[in-house]
C-alpha cells in the first residue's frame, strides 16, 4: 500500500507550553487522531519534534564528516512533527491529512513516499 508523509509546519519561534488549555486541547485532539489512525490500520509511525534550534546538520565529503549547528533550511517555517501513514490512494491520504490539520490546528503537508 502507498505510504505518505504528513508533516506539521509552524513558525520556528513556536514553542509549546503544554500547561495552557489551548495546548492541552490540541494534545487531546492529536491523541484521538492517533487512535483513529491505529484503529483503521493506517498508522505507520509518528512523532512530535523538539524545536528546530535543537537540530544539527551533518555532512560527509570524501570521508570527512562535518557538523553545523541549527536546521538545514534557515526558513521561518519549520517542521514540528510528522506522521507516516498507509493509505490506499491520494484521496484517502488527503482525508487523513484534513483530520491531522484539524487535530493540530495548523497546516500540514502531504507527500508520497517512493516505491
Amino acid at each position: 500500500m502507498p505510504q505518505y508523509l504528513i508533516s506539521v509546519w509552524h513558525d520556528e519561534t513556536f514553542e509549546v507550553d503544554f500547561s495552557t488549555p489551548d495546548a492541552q486541547r490540541r494534545v487531546a485532539q492529536v491523541d484521538a487522531f492517533n487512535s483513529e489512525l491505529q484503529q483503521a490500520g493506517a498508522w505507520v509511525f509518528a512523532a512530535g519534534l523538539h524545536p528546530a534550534s535543537s537540530a544539527t546538520v551533518v555532512r560527509s565529503s570524501g570521508g570527512d564528516v562535518s557538523m553545523t549547528d541549527g536546521p538545514y533550511a534557515e526558513t521561518k517555517e519549520q517542521m514540528g512533527g510528522f506522521w507516516v501513514i498507509d493509505a490506499t490512494d491520494l484521496d484517502a491520504a488527503l482525508e487523513w491529512a484534513g483530520k491531522a490539520a484539524a487535530a493540530c490546528e495548523g497546516p500540514v503537508e502531504v507527500r508520497p513516499a517512493q516505491g
Partner: protein, 414 residues
C-alpha cells in the same frame, strides 16, 4: 475525408483517451496509443470508409497497439502494466491486465470521461495545471495550441503538463468518480476549471485581442459533455447556462474597429437570440430543482441581463437580490463589488460608492475591475480627481491591450 476524420477526432479523442487511461492504467501510454490509433485511421479509413463505431475502433486499436508495444519493449509487460496502473474501482474486466484477450472489443464507457474530469481537476493540482490537463486530455488540444492560447512558451506549458501528470502518478491518485460525500466539492472544482477556460477565452488576460474564441468553444463543449454525463447536477447545468448567456453577447462586445463595448452600451440586436433562448431554458431547468448554487445564481443574473431589451430596462433590484443570494453562499469581495455596481445602477453612484466602501478591499487592491468600477462611479458622482487616480490604477493593472485602450478613453473623457 480529412474533415470527417477531424470531426471524429474532435468528438472521440478525449473519450478514447479517458477509456484507455482506465484500461492501461497510465496517462502517457494512453495518450500515445490514441495518437497512434488515429494515425492508423488516417491511413486506413480513406480506403475502407469510417467504421460504424469509430470511437470503439480507435479505442480497441489503441489498446492493442499499446499492448503490442509493451510486449516489444519489455518481456515483463504485465509487470510494467501493474507498476504503472492507476488505481481504479474494480468494476470492469479490463481491470485485470490479462493480455490474451486482444480481440475483445473495448467499449467506450461514458463514466471514463467523468473519471478523467475529476482526475484533471483534482484539488491537489494548481488551477493552471488543472486547466492545462483538461485541455490536453479531454479536449485533446496539442500542447502547442494550449501554450498559444495562454500566451506562454510551449516548453513552459509542456513542463506544466508533465509535472501535473507526474504529481498524480507519484501520489497514487485514483481514477474514480468521487463518493457522494466528496462530490459537491469535487464537482465544484471541475466546474470552476471549465469556467476558468471559458473566461480565459472570453477576456484574454493579456495580448492584443479581447477574446480567444477557441478556448470558450472548448469550455462550452466540455460543459455540454458534463451535463450529458451528470444530467442531475443543477450546478453543471447552471455553468453551461452561464457560459451560453455570456457567449450570446460576444458579437456586441467589441465594435467594428476592435474596441471594447461595455454591457450598458452594447447593441442588443447583435446578441445571439438562439444562445439566449437555450440559456434561459437551462436556467429554468436548473432553478426548478431548487438546489441553488453559485453557478446557477450567476446564470440567473446573466439571464436577467439577457431579458432586458435595453440597458435602462434592466431589472436591477432582481440582480441585487441575486447578488445577495450569491454572497450568502460565497462571501467573496468580487461578489460584493458586482453587487455595489448593481446598487449604483438602481440607486445612483453615491449609494454604489457607499456599498463599495463597505468591502474589505485588501484582496481587491490588485484586481483591475475593482479600480475600473470605482473610477466609473467616482466620475459619475462628479469626484473627478479621485476618478482620475482610480483610472490610473486600473490602467496600471490592465494586461489586455483592448481593455487598456478603453480605460484610457474613459479617463480622457473626464
Amino acid at each position: 475525408m480529412t474533415d470527417a476524420l477531424e470531426e471524429v477526432f474532435r468528438r472521440e479523442a478525449g473519450r478514447c483517451t479517458a477509456t484507455l487511461i482506465r484500461v492501461l492504467g497510465d496517462i502517457d501510454l494512453a495518450e500515445d496509443a490514441v495518437a497512434e490509433a488515429f494515425a492508423t485511421a488516417a491511413e486506413r479509413w480513406p480506403k475502407t470508409g469510417i467504421p460504424p463505431n469509430p470511437g470503439g475502433w480507435i479505442t480497441t486499436t489503441a489498446r492493442n497497439r499499446a499492448i503490442d508495444r509493451l510486449r516489444r519493449e519489455s518481456t515483463r509487460s504485465d509487470r510494467h502494466l501493474e507498476a504503472h496502473r492507476l488505481h481504479t474501482d474494480s468494476m470492469d474486466p479490463d481491470h485485470d491486465p490479462e493480455l490474451d484477450r486482444l480481440d475483445d472489443f473495448v467499449d467506450v464507457v461514458p463514466d471514463d470521461q467523468l473519471r478523467l474530469m475529476f482526475l484533471c481537476a483534482h484539488p491537489a493540482l494548481a488551477a493552471d495545471a488543472q486547466v492545462a490537463l483538461i485541455l490536453r486530455l479531454l479536449a485533446s488540444l496539442e500542447t502547442k495550441e494550449i501554450a498559444k492560447a495562454f500566451l506562454v512558451p510551449e516548453a513552459t506549458m509542456a513542463q506544466r503538463i508533465v509535472r501535473a501528470k507526474r504529481k498524480l502518478h507519484d501520489n497514487h491518485a485514483s481514477y474514480r468518480i468521487p463518493r457522494a460525500a466528496e462530490l459537491p466539492d469535487r464537482l465544484h472544482a471541475v466546474l470552476t476549471a471549465i469556467y476558468l477556460i471559458y473566461t480565459e477565452g472570453h477576456t484574454a488576460t493579456s495580448g492584443q485581442s479581447l477574446t480567444r474564441t477557441g478556448l470558450s468553444t472548448e469550455a462550452v463543449r466540455l460543459g455540454r459533455t458534463l451535463i450529458e454525463l451528470m444530467p442531475d447536477e443543477p450546478e453543471a447545468i447552471g455553468l453551461v447556462a452561464l457560459m451560453l448567456l455570456t457567449e450570446s453577447r460576444r458579437p456586441a462586445r467589441s465594435s467594428n474597429c476592435g474596441t471594447m463595448v461595455r454591457l450598458a452600451d452594447q447593441d442588443r440586436s447583435r446578441w445571439d437570440p438562439a444562445l439566449i433562448t437555450e440559456g434561459h431554458e437551462l436556467v429554468r431547468a436548473c432553478l426548478r430543482r431548487n438546489q441553488p448554487g453559485p453557478f446557477q445564481i450567476q446564470a440567473a443574473i446573466a439571464a436577467v441581463h439577457a431579458a432586458a431589451p435595453t440597458a435602462e430596462a434592466t431589472d436591477w433590484s432582481q440582480i441585487i437580490a441575486l447578488y445577495d443570494q450569491l454572497y450568502a453562499l460565497r462571501p467573496h469581495p468580487v461578489v460584493a463589488l458586482n453587487r455595489s455596481v448593481a446598487i449604483a445602477e438602481l440607486h445612483g453612484p453615491a449609494e454604489g460608492l457607499a456599498a463599495l466602501a463597505e468591502i474589505d478591499t485588501a484582496t481587491l487592491d490588485k484586481y483591475q475591475p475593482y479600480h475600473a468600477a470605482r473610477a466609473d462611479l467616482l466620475a459619475l458622482a462628479g469626484r473627478r480627481d479621485e476618478a482620475l487616480g482610480a483610472y490610473d490604477r486600473a490602467i496600471e493593472l490592465t494586461t489586455n491591450a483592448v481593455e487598456r485602450d478603453f480605460l484610457v478613453r474613459q479617463q480622457a473623457a473626464l
